[in-house]
Subunit: 533 residues, 2 copies
């Protein structure tokens, strides 16, 4: 715990790409855009960054909890989004919180909320700080006397493990690895691995409806929540621990996805499973994205429930360093703690073959297959990806992702429309063509969750403006073409205009009424999900 997390960059100081990997990343980027000499900006000198003096002083009773330390304020200013990095690179920490409160108990949370409501200070719940949608930045407008970042990572205990029901009661501030380490002692796992897993906290995952490991069935963290306990400004709310219920609208579902705007998730009972012992993975290539999508649809509608059925289009595969740039790849994986998965894999591969897929039948039978070939290469690339952001932004690359979901009947038009809108947006905004790729992160019987990555060559000094225009154009396309503004990245502040277009108006009003009940002073994460009052 003594390791220092980076402010500008992913992970701990000292972690990340080594010099050769970074050079490789930038060379690849440079080659794509014909750049031989980069306009490279140095990482911000955090010691030299100026932030305004705190506008608020916490009461003496909160002295032990609250900090106005320079580094604490900087490290809680941003999440991990592209525009966050741009602003950090530019030394802009205008929205740094006035105070960072380090909660180690529910009493701390309650005390901070009580004081903030009285002082009319905005409270920004802060878990792993891995938001890519502006969810943790104190961009709260002028209606508040100040802003407090409420850091919950001190609430990181495993409170109970129920090895009979396969469930555990955990504090909301526990990070992914600590949770999995504790559960491993009992032979259990949640097996929910969002890309932010290393730092994200359980409460943050629940508050943002994170998407994890499983490509089918148990996709969102929603499915793992057995019950939740929240502290709201109006008091605590705790749902009953139940495997299923039909008693009115689900209380859990109000807090799942509430993004810190309705309450602080301090505890949850989470559903677990035994660690898998049977595993297999195979990579199948297709001549076209359409054929690959048809195969994935067939698999998703067959009731086979693969743990993984990730489609990578040809560009996505190439950008991640495998494939020939011509064929789409489907990585298909099955796992079980109970029984052999060969029959399911065989049928999954048969469905791929029915749709023109090619695969190495021998490799698919290899028990180490889930770590080998394209499956393994993807896994490695996936873990490395968050480290790319800092070096890429420092050379003015505009490199970002967005993700959505759509029903199968609309996929072809949707995919073509989004690809086209994104290509055009890059060219319009940057003055030159860029690269756009697509993969499916999760797949449902009624449709996939497509995930788009785009990269263009931006210009230092204009990056934020360029990104804003790009983001608006692609988000308009997502909403116009019938998608959701987010399948698992959450709404935050960045997606608000499109979330408000997507959300039924009266549901927004009902949600606002719920918030007014739970957070009468309107201090919880203002501007997220609901416009500040």
């Amino acid at each position: 715990m003594s390791r220092q997390l980076k402010v500008f960059g992913w992970g701990y100081e000292g972690d990340g790409l080594d010099a050769a990997e970074e050079q490789d990343l930038l060379r690849t980027f440079g080659e794509r855009f014909g750049i031989s000499e980069f306009d490279r900006r140095a990482a911000p000198d955090l010691g030299a960054v100026e932030v305004a003096a705190p506008r608020l002083a916490p009461p003496a009773s909160l002295d032990a909890v609250c900090s106005t330390d320079h580094q604490d304020r900087l490290s809680h200013c941003y999440g991990q989004s592209y525009p966050d990095y741009v602003q950090m690179l530019e030394g802009d920490f205008t929205n740094a919180p006035d105070i960072v409160a380090w909660a180690t108990s529910e009493a701390d949370v309650t005390a901070v909320l009580d004081w903030a409501a009285d002082a009319h200070a905005a409270v920004i719940p802060y878990g792993g700080g891995t938001s890519v949608v502006g969810g943790v930045e104190a961009r709260v407008g002028d209606g508040f006397k100040g802003a407090v970042s409420l850091d919950l990572t001190g609430m990181d205990k495993v409170l109970e493990v129920d090895t009979t029901s396969l469930a555990a009661r955990l504090q909301g501030g526990i990070r992914g690895p600590a949770m999995e380490t504790a559960l491993r002692e009992h032979g259990l796992t949640m097996r929910h691995f969002p890309q932010s897993f290393e730092f994200a906290t359980l409460g943050g995952m629940i508050a943002t409806r994170s998407g994890g490991h499983y490509a089918t069935l148990y996709t969102h963290i929603d499915d793992f929540v057995e019950s939740v306990r929240c502290v709201t400004p109006a008091g605590p709310v705790e749902s009953r621990r139940l495997p299923g219920s039909g008693a009115g609208p689900s209380p859990d579902r109000l807090f799942i996805g509430s993004e810190g705007a309705l309450g602080i998730i301090t505890e949850a009972w989470m559903r677990l499973r035994r660690r898998p012992t049977f595993r297999a993975s195979a990579a199948v290539t297709f001549a076209s994205f359409e054929e690959a999508a048809a195969a994935v649809r067939a698999i998703s509608q067959a009731g086979l429930y693969p743990a993984n059925v990730r489609l990578l289009d040809a560009m996505e595969a190439r950008l991640n360093g495998f494939g020939d740039g011509k064929r789409s790849i489907v990585v298909l994986g099955f796992e079980s703690a109970d029984h052999p998965i060969e029959p399911a894999m065989a049928r999954g591969l048969e469905l791929c073959a029915d749709h023109g897929g090619d695969y190495d039948a021998e490799a698919a039978r290899d028990p180490g297959s889930h770590m080998a070939g394209a499956a393994g290469a993807w896994r490695t690339a996936f873990i490395k990806m968050p480290h790319f952001r800092a070096p890429l932004v420092s050379v003015a690359a505009i490199h970002d992702t967005f993700e959505t979901a759509i029903t199968w009947d609309r996929l072809a038009d949707f995919h073509a429309g989004i690809m086209d809108a994104t290509h055009k947006a890059i060219e319009t905004v940057t003055g030159r063509p860029g690269y756009v790729s697509c993969r499916f992160t999760h797949v449902y019987p009624d449709g996939p969750a497509p995930y788009f990555t785009f990269v263009g060559q931006g210009r230092h000094g204009a990056l934020l403006e360029q990104w804003n225009e790009l983001k608006a154009r692609v988000s308009d396309a997502v909403i116009d073409l019938g998608g959701t503004i987010t399948h698992h990245h959450a709404v935050g502040r960045d997606h608000m205009p499109w979330y408000e277009r997507q959300r039924p108006d009266l549901f927004g009003d009902a949600l606002g009424a719920a918030k007014a009940t739970l957070d009468p002073a309107g201090v919880l994460n203002p501007g997220v999900l609901l416009a500040p009052r």
Copy 2:
């Protein structure tokens, strides 16, 4: 459509038990309680029933929609609960709605809601009328000028079928059989068969979080809802059609389980599947309930996802006419439209054997097995059950069911506690021992949904009072021991005291605030989910 639905009894006039079946039912009941001569009351003479004159007159613009016909008012007075039957038998139709409105369009629904809000008339949404929890009875207190039963069965169209995404857009008033008949033409099915399937409407199923066919994975109708459209007194609300989303708390989940208190579900896009072609079922017997439960737990935690894994305790099996009254039975069934289910069945049976289960391996391999033996006998009994209520109540039998869910770690104590409380309640209330049995209707990796059936010998004239006391005692036990007051029967008016104990207080307040937004005059199904304002 010209067939007349019974008021006192299940189904259409002319349907139900034949004379021999009824005699058999009553003889069995009589033998259990040592009764040779029944105190049998005749079914109510509906023509002779007196109801007060309507307190309200609809505006002329609603003349074509509204009825004050005697039979219409009587047929919309009650659902299908035990106390409903007692009151009908006693000729008590005090709460008959003043008006029955027959909506055939959203415009009708809107017009009725507008008028009712102005007139301060309670509006009771009425689909199949199959509520067993007082969900459709106009027991709304004195705060209203009258009550309108809003019958939605005229909104029964299949609007669109998407054979690519396997989904359909259906009107809320369509009944189960009409829905399945229309879908069959496309080779599709929802395969959601609550016991009320024959009459229940889609909107009613969604509003009450009905439990269906599948014992694992897709248990509640919740899982089948892709999007909903509701008409609320404040206006329409329609969610986007999406296979998955992470954009804030789910709008759908506010209306799923809203029991007519927040809006009228006029349309929904529902997820479907192809009709199964591979099926197998087996009955496994166990020396004890505990061993059977352990086997079911193992299966539910193995990731095998059987369509059926119904545990019947020895008494439940015997009461339904099969088994020797000594052994518990697990009916295990698999089905698929895509692939053979033998490997899953073999592993499921192996897990049963590991826990002391006995089965006929030959019979399990028979392709007709899902219709044979205990599985088939159960299916037949299940369909017949709703017809038992009228004859049983007419001989003063107190015969009812309640259902719940509990995590596996608490099952043993919970089951023992509920069995004990129910036995004691019957003996206390009726003065003599009764019968109590238990089955599992649905099973989750973290716990089962136990369903209890009880029967005692009551007394005409005191049945309602006796049932109320029994219901209160068993419901207290369910809540005290950590269960949910309902897994799939819904809350209605009958479960309100226990729902309010179970529901987090602040969630109740937030739900009330949402209702005040959507239904400002508070006219929608008052007393259900929320106390009338």
